[in-house]
Symmetry: D2
Subunit: 394 residues, 4 copies
């Protein structure tokens, strides 16, 4: 656990997170979080550490846990643990039970604000009844899944505090999937394979925001792009963008690369993959690792071997070889460094403003799930524009 290496990674991220630098100056001066205890449950890598340090700079004491055992980076934990006023409980590869015990310790910390990814803390708080949330002024939730869990708690009458759906901010969902996922997924695929994209036939399965970004960047790299979407209106949009709209079996049969981004389980199962060409490369850019049924494919195969880091070859009885990149997990994280730094600068700036929002309106916001305040969304957008226009960012 090399705290110095962690600090180096954090410094690099911070140097490319101008919104956090701008906000930090204000927070250091105004100390709006002084006296607050903030519980954080997020992917513990360098960009998240910059958010945590910025919350700290605003006067907060923090309790930090990971939101996934395999996204935690130990050097980042070590670097954060050196800071007075930041308590960290996380370790790469910890068991899910250990991780949830850390979440319980976070609840014991009696946070006044919770910033999280996935809703584990909200659920743990709900278990303890309304007293468990007595100190709390609000929850800021980053993900679709977490927002859905909050809505479920609210329907059950177990959400005692206001919660802000940061995921629904326009600056979040309009940007990170198209520009973050699009770039970082292709970067990871190129890094894992050293293969040429130009001239290849690429099948994008799912033409939502992620799929649009994946198609845009594939075309930008010179690929011929095929698109599948179950929604016929989205399919027409794809066709008018110049992509070739196909049915899934036809697309699979033509593709050199297949990237899924549907949000649905088992979209590519072993039977569908019977249509695939020898040598096809499969990757997933959707949130969950279940879109490509690799366990099913393994069963149907004669052998599976890792042929490059993060590339597995499935040898089929009919002689074909199929390659899976990043074990079917989110390819930009499994075989790369995740979203570009600037994308997280924006997403976490939305979080910072949301924290300020629930603190400044403590006691005024009713319990329940609140949409992201449009004026804060616009404020973050204006900061990005100011940066693009070359204004001094401190």
């Amino acid at each position: 656990m090399d705290a110095d290496f962690g600090m180096k990674k954090i410094a690099w991220a911070q140097a490319h997170m101008p919104l956090h630098r701008m906000l930090r100056k204000r927070l250091e001066r105004e100390q709006p979080f002084a006296g607050h205890r903030i519980g954080v449950a997020l992917h513990l890598e360098a960009k998240t550490a910059v958010l945590i340090l910025t919350l700290h700079a605003g006067g907060a004491e923090l309790f930090v846990v990971g939101s996934n055992p395999w996204s935690t980076q130990d050097e980042i934990v070590a670097a954060l643990a050196q800071q007075e006023g930041i308590h960290v409980r996380a370790q790469r590869g910890e068991s899910e039970r250990e991780r949830l015990q850390h979440v319980e310790r976070l609840v014991d910390f009696a946070p006044t604000v919770v910033v999280e990814d996935g809703g584990d803390v909200a659920v743990a708080l709900a278990e303890r009844g309304s007293e468990g949330s007595s100190a709390l002024v609000g929850i800021c939730e980053e993900t679709t899944t977490g927002v859905e869990r909050l809505h479920a708690l609210a329907r059950d009458g177990r959400l005692w505090v206001p919660a802000v759906a940061v995921n629904d901010a326009r600056m979040k969902h309009l940007l990170d999937n198209r520009y973050g996922t699009g770039q970082s997924s292709w970067e990871a695929i190129m890094r894992a394979t050293n293969l040429l994209i130009a001239g290849k036939t690429v099948l994008i399965v799912g033409y939502g925001w992620c799929g649009r970004g994946l198609a845009l960047r594939a075309a930008g790299l010179g690929a011929r792009v095929l698109v599948v979407d179950a929604d016929p209106v989205k399919a027409v949009e794809a066709a008018l963008e110049g992509y070739e709209v196909v049915m899934l079996p036809e697309g699979i049969a033509k593709a050199d690369f297949v990237v899924t981004a549907t949000g649905r389980s088992g979209v590519l199962d072993a039977e569908m993959l019977n249509h695939a060409k020898d040598g096809v490369l499969l990757a997933n850019a959707g949130h969950f690792g279940y879109e490509i049924d690799l366990p099913g494919l393994e069963k149907a195969s004669e052998s599976v071997t890792e042929v490059r880091p993060e590339v597995h070859a499935y040898t089929m009885p009919d002689g074909r070889t199929l390659f899976a990149i990043g074990r079917g997990e989110l390819v930009n994280l499994a075989a790369g460094d995740g979203h570009p730094v600037e994308i997280m600068d924006i997403s976490f700036a939305l979080q910072l403003l949301a924290v300020g929002h629930v603190i400044s309106l403590a006691g005024e916001l009713p319990p329940g799930v609140h949409p992201y305040p449009p004026e804060l969304d616009a404020e973050v957008a204006r900061m990005v524009l100011a940066k693009l226009a070359g204004e001094q960012t401190g």
Copy 2:
């Protein structure tokens, strides 16, 4: 009034409206509009005539008027007037008073369904009280403006029938502005000017659906694209697409071409145009002709002369010449042929299904403004996909 020339134009449009050809076969067989009187108030050009003839083929008797004196084409009127069961009252350049008298005759016709663009018939019906609409089973409205007027009538308790907001269909607003306006506006600008787009600096004012289409096609023609939008989130989206986001005065000062698509009046006024370069070309792609204040510019100028068909030169006291294309009106209609045929095939197919919808549910739909039925939206999308896949269209 050469009916033959009109029929020729209609035949060309029909040959490129596969959705209408598919629907027509069904309508001819099933005659779902038999016994119905349909009142139509739309732009009377070839593509609209195909819609009218398709409604007619489904068994309807029709009464047809224009929705704008200057979009009416006399040869199309002549061609339609030859058909038994189609009554037409329209003439290019008629006065607004004459046109509204035709609308009154349409109301006298006691239509059972109204298909319109802008809401004039709906308002005329409202004037006559609920008896005026006694025969009516529904209104199908194509435009934003018309839908707003219907909502106003509903709020006032003067909308006695169900009305379908065809404009809100996804297949309408997601497609016609981006792909229709984008292509046809640049085609009109190139036709009017014979100038090169590649290497030019193009300023797009407004980054809504129209603005996105205009920017996309400008880039596709090799221009360097600048974008202005008052909404900072849209401005960030434009920046991440690779466009240069600017403030309006800066953009005007750099641009060779300026195209407006904001929906707002006087966006480019004479004062703002003081920033423009000598020789700049100005065009508007927004619905109304008031985005560029040409009357104001004329006042500030020394002279105005038409230097090419649909191009006017404004000579300024400081020696600069500014060129306006298409008199500041919707440039794709003022200096071109409007939306591509296939775009109107889609939009009018939505209308055809909406007419079938209000007829089949006659008496069941409550009065008020109804959203476009998603299953019909999807049906049109599937027809487009079938056509793209090369299926036989009859």
Copy 3:
């Protein structure tokens, strides 16, 4: 013959030919062409008139004929004829015999410099033996065909003067085909048809400079682009640009639009067109009108009718209809206004400098075909860059 209308068209072109405006100032001051008689045989439309007037401003007396009976515009002839010192002999639709008689009168004029397109004057001079060229200091030739004829004359020992191959300038062949033909051909196709390009399958036959421009702009308008080229290396280049490389019959069978640019005769003959889809649109962007064998197609068809201006429908015995745009001639001229103004500004600026070159080196350059001087090529490029950088152009 409306000279005023002609002057208006010329004024528009001139206003968008900044290189000519720059050069004209210098030529007016220095009068390098004073005492010279320049014979011009070019397409007589507005942009050419600007070249002619600029030569005139430099002190020359001119004798002007057309290079093709159908590219001559009578209003331009009328406008030029008003100028003292410019003799014009041309009429739209004149017979080829009449046109060649005008060329003989041009030779009688005893030009000191010839500027031409196609080599007719050079050949007429050769017929008269070396005395026919006694006054001549040089020929400046714009086209591939003309340069080939000059080389043939040189081989036969019948080229008594130096000739500059303006066609071979990099600023000519690198630009006009890609950026001129690419834009103007698609503009003409859209104008002639009012059809949507986005989502359509476009086949480009021939991937030379023209084909690259056609493919680039088709993709920029949202088409899915297929490419055919007999040269396998060019085909690989097309594939790595992301286009789909096909064999001709397969491409024809898939295409909604087919555009030829091969320079070869009968590339699309009636038999090949048996593969075409019902409703296909055919156009040619190559120099000669023989790439699509329309006479052969007509023979194989049941009827041919003009269905829109410059669009002919060929009804086939099997029920398909094939549409030809612009009669198979160069589509950007046959159904549009030819190259964008700025492209001709560049090409004719190369001519102006070539004229200055042969005059200043009169008696020094040996007879024969000379490559375009690289320093003049670079000078024109620098003028374009200066204009792009917004420098004052006078």
Copy 4:
């Protein structure tokens, strides 16, 4: 030295080198290289190993050395060394003296064919006089530098054998710089930095084949692209592609990323970099590491620290930080895996055919530098097209 790991890397490359697989089948059957001794001096990484094994499969005995001490991968050396009939002398990080000693041993091996990168073997052979080359039937040279050295030897009368300039094949220079360098350089930059490209201002210095590929891919990733080139014609081409053409100091002042590809030394020196913005990222995609004067920048800086693997921060006295990626060396090799596999499949297939060519014409080709045979160029292109068309590749 893990030979198994080396074989794994080689197997991956081979699986994505279909041209080599096709050629190998033929070579194994026909054994055209039987009895030949081939000397190879190339970058010893996986793709090169596939070439070497394919030469071996054709019957040759081989002697292999590295062409650069830092491009040699020891696991590849180990894997090759296991093969009977392949002699390898190379080690990562060996001194230049050691490497040249290995070249001498290669000459001692008395090769009948030489395949190399840079001309070291050709020069060593020349040192030994004509007897040194007595067994030799030909040299196949891959690089510009090597071809230049061969021409120099020929001018001095010291090239006693035919040499084929593989570098000049169209399938080499038209493809690897645009599509290889373009993709792999941006992949390396994204990998090294985890930064967003979309919305960034990217300056490409040099608009040759490399520069075109770099600009194309930057635009495809959503960047706003600025271009500098000293050749005004190339600068005009860049402008007509829609890029912003600038002077170097202006471009440096605007850029977030600067990538050089000029082939010239010291293009970016410390003085020029005074114009750079705080936080700028610098990379080189040209062959030599001298385009960015990093030693000069270091002298002008207060400190230099490695802030991420392959990213160095230069802290300037005025407070700015400049980042250099990949130490100013070819960024796709220094911070990535070099050209995509398929690009090397093509380049090395050209080599294989060149080897066959010199062997089959042994004694017939005169000494001297020969252009690449166009029919072999076309043959490789046809193999690529066959693969793209999905033909079985064995």
